[in-house]
């Protein structure tokens, strides 16, 4: 069975805001979490409504995103989409944690530095 994951992107990171993302990564996984396909869709403009429409059209199962408004969160939940929101950091890190079943909503995965020094 194919599992579809979507991650709205901001450069290499998970987009801090769901409604402001203009780039969306869609990953198709087959049984055993093997990546079947990976595609990036560029949206003409940032819009939470358009993004929700896209998620439904693509029959997405899991959404990994940054800040999302309650209205859209509840709508997508109602549409049976599994949501990991308030995630910050590189999308690859978030995805690999999800694969290992270690991703939780609100995970801040970025490297932390102050004035160039890791903290």
């Amino acid at each position: 069975m194919i599992h579809k994951i979507t991650i709205p992107l901001y450069h290499e990171e998970v987009a801090p805001r769901f409604d402001l993302a203009t780039e969306v990564l869609i990953i198709l996984l087959s049984k055993g979490n093997i990546i079947e396909e990976k595609k990036t869709i560029v949206l003409p403009r940032p819009s939470a409504d358009d993004l929700c429409h896209l998620l439904l059209a693509e029959t997405i199962n899991t959404l990994i995103c940054g800040a999302i408004e309650e209205e859209y969160y509840q709508f997508l939940k109602w549409k049976k989409i599994d949501i990991y929101d308030s995630i910050a950091g590189k999308w690859s890190t978030a995805f690999s944690r999800w694969e290992k079943n270690k991703l939780n909503p609100g995970d801040l995965l970025s490297e932390r530095t102050i004035e160039g020094t890791y903290v």
Binding site: Y10, A15, P16, R17, L20, G66, A67, I68, E69, E70, Y73, D85, S86, A88, G89, G106, L108, S110, E111, R112, T113, I114, E115, G116, Y118, V119
Partner: protein, 479 residues
């Protein structure tokens, strides 16, 4: 485990001050970032607003914590890297509770003692409350503090909110006392710059040399007595509004300098070669006829066109049908409360005088009259003798206007002027006649009615016997 800083401020007071406590007391959300836009510190108000604690946010990129539209679309910190001026903008953020909050962000650089940028400070203001105010509901006949319901004012009330939201220069014209300052302040308060400063400069109040330094600032040593740098009003008004009142009195050399600013938005303080890019909205006002001044050559045509992007003309009070009564009541209630007086209102006689007066000083004059009357009156009603005496010196003449509503009210309730009252003679007096002449006539009339008995005449006039005797001598009636 993240080790959080516990910073202290040294050298400000005798003992080091706890920075955390200091910043927590600020009622705005405060974020302190390093030069790489990473969160170094945040205060309690920000924690409440965003849901992120310092432990969660420490060392993270600010856009992952603040999560504002401006952070993604047009990061103010990035815009500041080339330019050290502070930036204020309206935006929104989504907090950890998935609530979208309207906010105002103000970003400024943190400089060291060598003027090197060492980080940034962002203040986040929750503007939900100010956005929920429905101006239409709270003020049916007014905009901010401006009162009026005549068609001209209604038209202005409809235009003002639209103009306030734009960033265009506005020219306010109108006679003295029509409320130009009030309108300018109302525009600022309802604009996107409301949290920024509102700086007023009276262009006619200072001599040319002082005015230049006052408006544009000066560099230390630019002239004798310039012992330190002065920022100038334009720099102080950064991210706000500057209100140039009496723009018609601005000297011509400064008109050129203002023109240059309006073109490139950079101010050059006196004696400085380094410009400052000021983000300022200009509102100008004058009681003069600028078009006529342009024809006469005392005002620059190009400056007029640059200021005249949007024009608001405030009508004089005598042209505002029905508003005099509204304003009388408005100021009466205000001063009654202020002075804690037990006054019920104006008597019919005094109201007649007030409604028929010309008000050359417009609303300011009306306000002063009402303030005087409320102050002076000790009765339950304000009588004509509680009004300033100059109102009584001027007889109701043909040149005096009377608003249709007021005229109608007067015909419905013809004024029963008692004998002995000030306006005994219902026929209009000619404009040359003054109060002494009226008094003389009143005395003669009273003496005639009392068959020459001064006691009775004094009673009829409501005066003391000695007052009547003194006035008879003064007007030489007995001779």
């Amino acid at each position: 485990m993240i080790r959080l800083p516990s910073p202290l401020i040294e050298s400000l007071m005798t003992n080091p001050i706890d920075f955390t406590h200091l910043i927590d007391e600020i009622p705005l959300g405060v974020l302190i970032l390093d030069t790489d836009r990473r969160v170094v510190f945040l205060n309690r108000a920000f924690e409440v607003l965003s849901g992120f604690s310092l432990t969660m946010a420490y060392g993270m990129k600010c856009y992952n914590i603040l999560r504002g539209t401006a952070c993604i679309a047009n990061c103010p910190v990035l815009s500041m890297k080339n330019d050290n001026r502070s930036i204020s903008c309206k935006s929104d953020m989504i907090n950890l509770n998935r609530q979208r909050l309207p906010i105002r962000m103000t970003t400024a650089s943190i400089l060291d003692d060598q003027d090197h940028t060492k980080g940034f400070i962002e203040t986040i203001e929750d503007i939900r409350l100010s956005q929920n105010i429905d101006w239409g509901k709270s003020a049916a006949y007014s905009f901010a503090n401006i009162v009026g319901r005549c068609p001209q004012m209604e038209k202005i009330f409809q235009t003002l909110p639209v103009l306030a939201q734009s960033d265009a220069s506005i020219l306010i014209t109108g006679e003295t006392g029509t409320g130009k300052d009030l309108v300018a302040e109302a525009i600022h308060q309802t604009s996107g710059r409301e949290s920024g400063p509102f700086i007023k400069i009276n262009c006619g109040a200072l001599p040319e040399t002082l005015l230049e330094s006052e408006i544009f600032g000066h560099q230390k040593g630019a002239f004798t007595g310039a012992v330190e740098n002065k920022p100038g009003r334009f720099k102080l008004a950064h991210n706000g509004t500057i209100f140039l009142t009496e723009i018609g009195d601005l000297p011509r050399p400064l008109q050129v300098k203002l023109l240059t600013f309006l073109d490139d938005k950079i101010i050059y303080p006196l004696g400085s070669t380094k410009g400052f890019r000021a983000n300022v909205r200009i509102i100008a006002a004058t009681h003069r006829n600028l078009e006529q001044m342009v024809k006469q050559g005392s005002f620059r045509k190009d400056l007029l066109f640059r200021l005249n992007v949007a024009r608001i003309h405030l009508p004089p009070l005598r042209e505002r049908d029905g508003d005099i009564r509204l304003l009388i009541d408005h100021f009466f209630n205000y001063y009654k409360q202020q002075l804690d007086k037990k006054i019920n209102g104006f008597s019919k006689n005094s109201l007649t005088i007030l409604l028929n007066y010309n008000y050359e000083g417009n609303i300011r004059e009306l306000k002063n009259i009402v303030e005087y009357a409320v102050n002076v009156s000790n009765n339950l009603m304000i009588e004509p003798h509680h009004l300033p005496s100059y109102l009584l010196d001027l007889p109701p003449s043909n040149e005096f206007r009377r608003a249709p509503i007021e005229r109608h009210a007067m015909t419905q309730n013809p004024d029963p002027i008692p004998e002995g009252a000030l306006f005994r003679n219902p026929t209009p007096l000619n404009t040359q006649e003054k109060w002494p002449a009226v008094q003389r006539e009143m005395i003669i009339d009273a003496l005639r009615k009392s068959n020459g008995k001064k006691n009775k005449a004094a009673e009829l006039l409501g005066w003391g016997r000695s007052t009547l005797w003194r006035k008879i001598k003064l007007f030489k009636i007995d001779s």
